[in-house]
Each structure stands twice: as C-alpha cells, then as structure tokens.
C-alpha cells in the first residue's frame, strides 16, 4: 500500500465527505491537515466504538480522515482523559503525584497532579483518610477533572475503575489486590489498605484508545 503524505495546511477533502480525526482540522467547509505525516482513511465502522453513543446520527457513516506520524505522538493533559501517575506526597487533605502517561501515551515531561481528599472515593467522601488510600510511590490511574492552578492539575479517583494499579510494601514486595480497599503482601500476608482500581476488560479497551 502506497501512502500519501501531507504537510500542515494541505487541503485533504471537503467536509461533507469525511469527518476530521486526529491531525486534521475543519475550516471553511474543508478538512485540512494540521501535522505532517501520512494520510489514513478509516473506513471500518467497527473500530468506531469511541463514538458509539451517537451511532444513529448520519455523521457516523462518513469515514474518519486522520494524519498519522509514527515516531511522534504528543500527549497533552486535557480534561476528561485518564492519567497514569506516581504518588509523591501524601498529606491529610490531598495527595500529590507526578503524571507520566496520558491514555497509554508517555508524556515527554512529567506533569504535576493533585488528588484532593474529596475526590479520592465516591462513597463516604467525608471520612476518607488520604493515608489509608495511597502511599508514596504507588502507581495510580486517575481521571483529569480540571486544569487546576499554576502548580498542578486536579485529578480524581472517584470511580470504581480508578485507583492504585501497582504498589509495593515498605520492604519492596509487590502487593496483590484482594478487595476494593485492601492489598496483601504475598510473603508476609500483611494487609495494607489502598484505593484499589477495579480493572475490567472494557476498561482496558478504553485506556488503550
């Protein structure tokens, strides 16, 4: 298959024959390329699960046109995306963390995030104790809920699927999740409390997109 290449600003097609995907933008009734790369036309509808909720609109029949460049994929923290982060600091009112990947794309430079006490768990919000939910160096999956202030993004783990995905004990042993709020050390059988992410199959699909 030979591929077609484009530079930013190249007119790809009229707006009524396709929908703009990543790497493109729509202006004046046309779709233009916004990055340099090879042009891909996404015809199959099965892959369009991401927009399945508006399946009945006529928009869905149109193919998605995208511009792809393999070696460069920039991830930008945006509200609503899932972030992988590492906890750096736990205080009674909030937890600080460093985001290192967004939607399975590694970030070029780490971004600072903060999970407030109220955003850790969806039930019993007022009785949450941060130190009972996260420890420093835990790997956590969280959703970006706000761009926050100049210091950090605001994150939330108040969904069953969000929370700790990997953690170690103080001696360096990998913990194994046993319940939604408990993890066990396989060697000493000591139970440590964490906000554990309930990872399900459809959720894995979502993060992979």
């Amino acid at each position: 298959m030979s591929s077609y290449y484009c530079v930013p600003g190249d007119r790809l097609c009229p707006a009524d024959s396709a929908r703009p995907g990543p790497g493109t933008y729509e202006k004046q009734g046309c779709i233009f390329a916004s990055i340099a790369g090879s042009i891909k036309l996404n015809l199959s509808e099965n892959e369009l699960g991401a927009v399945s909720h508006n399946k009945n609109t006529s928009n869905n029949e149109k193919p998605i046109i995208t511009v792809v460049r393999e070696e460069h994929q920039l991830a930008v923290p945006t509200v609503g995306l899932l972030a992988y982060c590492k906890i750096t600091h736990v205080s009674p009112r909030f937890v600080r963390c460093n985001m290192f990947a967004i939607n399975n794309q590694p970030l070029k430079s780490i971004c600072h995030g903060m999970i407030k006490r109220e955003a850790i768990d969806s039930n019993n919000k007022d009785t949450v104790e941060c130190s009972q939910k996260f420890r420093p160096d835990d790997i956590v999956i969280a959703r970006i809920i706000s761009l926050g202030d100049s210091n950090s993004y605001l994150l939330s783990t108040a969904e069953p699927e969000l929370g700790v995905v990997a953690a170690r004990t103080s001696t360096g042993e990998t913990l194994v999740p046993v319940a939604c709020c408990k993890m066990r050390c396989p060697k000493t059988n000591i139970i440590e409390s964490r906000k554990v992410a309930k990872i399900q199959n459809d959720f894995i699909e979502e993060t992979e997109r």
């Binding site: 930013p8 600003g9 916004s34 990055i35 930008v76 945006t78 509200v79 971004c111 100049s150 210091n151």
Partner: protein, 265 residues
C-alpha cells in the same frame, strides 16, 4: 609524548592535518546530505535555501536553515506544563532569539545580558525579533489544542547575511521545527522580506489559507506601490513554501522506508 601535561601545558594535537582536508570534507557532506534540499532554481545568491531538520536530537523538534548566507538553527521544547498564571485555555509561546557573537562582521558582545526587569538593557534587536516572530506564529498554531501548556522556541543565529533575510529565515526555521515537533498548525507559514532602496517589507504568509499572518514595513511608499510589494513578497513566499514541502515530504518518505526495511529485517 606529552611529558609536561602536569603543569597544564599542552603541546597541541598529536596528529597534524592539512586544512584543505576539512574543506573538501565539508563539501562532500554538503552534497551527500540526504534530508536537505538546495534550491538552485533561482540563480541569485540571496535566495538560495537549504533546509534540514532533526539536527538537535534532544529537542522535541529542530531545524537548520540557510537562506542566502544567513544560517539559523531552531529548536522546539514542549509543549510542557506552564508555571505562569496567565491563561489556561490556550497555549503560551516563549521565544528566545540569540545572535552568536560572530554572526556579524562586528562582534556582538555576548555579555550584553538582557535582564527582564531592567529598563535600559532589554530593548535589543533580539527582543524585537522575538515579538515579531510571536506575532507571526500566533495565528497559525492550534493553540486551543494545548491547554495549560507552553512551547519554548529557541533560535540561534549562527551567521547573518543581510537584514532583509533575517526574519524570513527565522520564520522558515521555526516552521520547519514546529512541523518536526509535530505541533498542530493551521498552515505552513513562510515569510519573505524585500529590500528595495530604503524600503524594507516583510510579509509572513500562509499559502494554503491565503492569509497574511504578520507584516512589517519601514520606508516610504504610496498605497498602490505597497500593494505591488506585498504581491511580490507573496509570490516569493510560494516558492519558499514549495521548498519546505519538498524537504518534509522527502523526509517522511525516507523514514517510512527505513522503518519498513527494519520490519522486514
């Protein structure tokens, strides 16, 4: 061989080379460099362009541009998290342009430090070029795609040929570097300066959208003459745009072929 290294005295290199050897070598690499293009269609020495990208590997995107005898490198860092409180909905641009001390026949003192808060020192040509470049780039970057982010653009002017070429070369190198960094752009912006008599006109132009993103003029002209000058600039911009497209598409093709070959291997 070096008996007196301890006292900090160095005799010089152990081997000797004929200086011409380097000169020949330089010419060879010039010809064989595969991801650059030298546009020899225009015979005038002022207009020759050489564009290559990916020079500074540490940066997110980078470029090296020769326009006439003006030589410029540009590197892009980011988009990364911003620390300023200004606006979160859009991306911020932070440009810094630096003349190397040997870029002009008269030495430019690198110790002429430009402090941000001092009133006297910072009105340099560098600051002026920075604001012109930002004005030119703002309309052509999809800033809303990078909320709470900042893009750092760092430009080094290695050699300056003439005043007219400078801004044009800066914009050219920044565009190529932005494309290399995969930052989303509305269009490939190019700039061309014309200097006729004492009139200096610079036009930054987006060829596909047919929009002028920035312009600057110093001299004296009537409106009709000015329109003619602008038309001429835009004509030249189209030529530069073709050169950029050729470099980038050739580069993409090369990279694709390389990755295919490695897959087969």
């Amino acid at each position: 061989m070096l008996s007196n290294t301890n006292c900090g005295w160095v005799d010089g290199p152990e081997e000797l080379f004929d200086p011409l050897q380097f000169a020949v070598d330089l010419e060879m690499t010039d010809k064989s460099s595969d991801n650059g293009v030298r546009d020899v269609n225009s015979l005038k020495n002022d207009d020759r362009v050489f564009i290559s990208k990916g020079l500074i590997t540490k940066a997110n995107g980078s470029s090296y541009v020769e326009l006439g005898l003006t030589k410029i490198t540009c590197s892009i860092y980011g988009p990364h998290e911003t620390t300023t409180d200004e606006s979160y909905s859009k991306c911020l641009l932070d440009t810094s342009i630096k003349f190397s001390p040997f870029s002009r026949p008269k030495r430019i003192d690198p110790l002429r430090i430009t402090y941000e808060n001092s009133n006297e020192m910072d009105d340099t040509e560098e600051a002026e070029l920075c604001s012109m470049l930002e004005e030119c780039l703002l309309p052509c970057i999809l800033l809303h795609k990078y909320p709470k982010s900042q893009i750092d653009i760092i430009i080094d002017i290695i050699q300056e040929d003439n005043e007219a070429n400078l801004l044009s070369a800066i914009v050219l190198s920044t565009t190529v570097a932005l494309i290399d960094a995969c930052i989303e752009l509305y269009d490939t912006v190019v700039a061309k300066s014309l200097k006729i008599d004492s009139n200096l006109l610079t036009v930054c132009y987006m060829p596909n959208l047919a929009q002028v993103s920035s312009l600057f003029f110093d001299g004296e002209l009537t409106t009709n003459e000015l329109d003619k000058y602008v038309d001429e600039c835009i004509k030249q911009c189209h030529i530069l745009h073709k050169a950029i497209c050729k470099v980038i598409i050739d580069d993409l093709k090369n990279k694709d072929q390389e990755s295919k070959q490695t897959k087969i291997a």
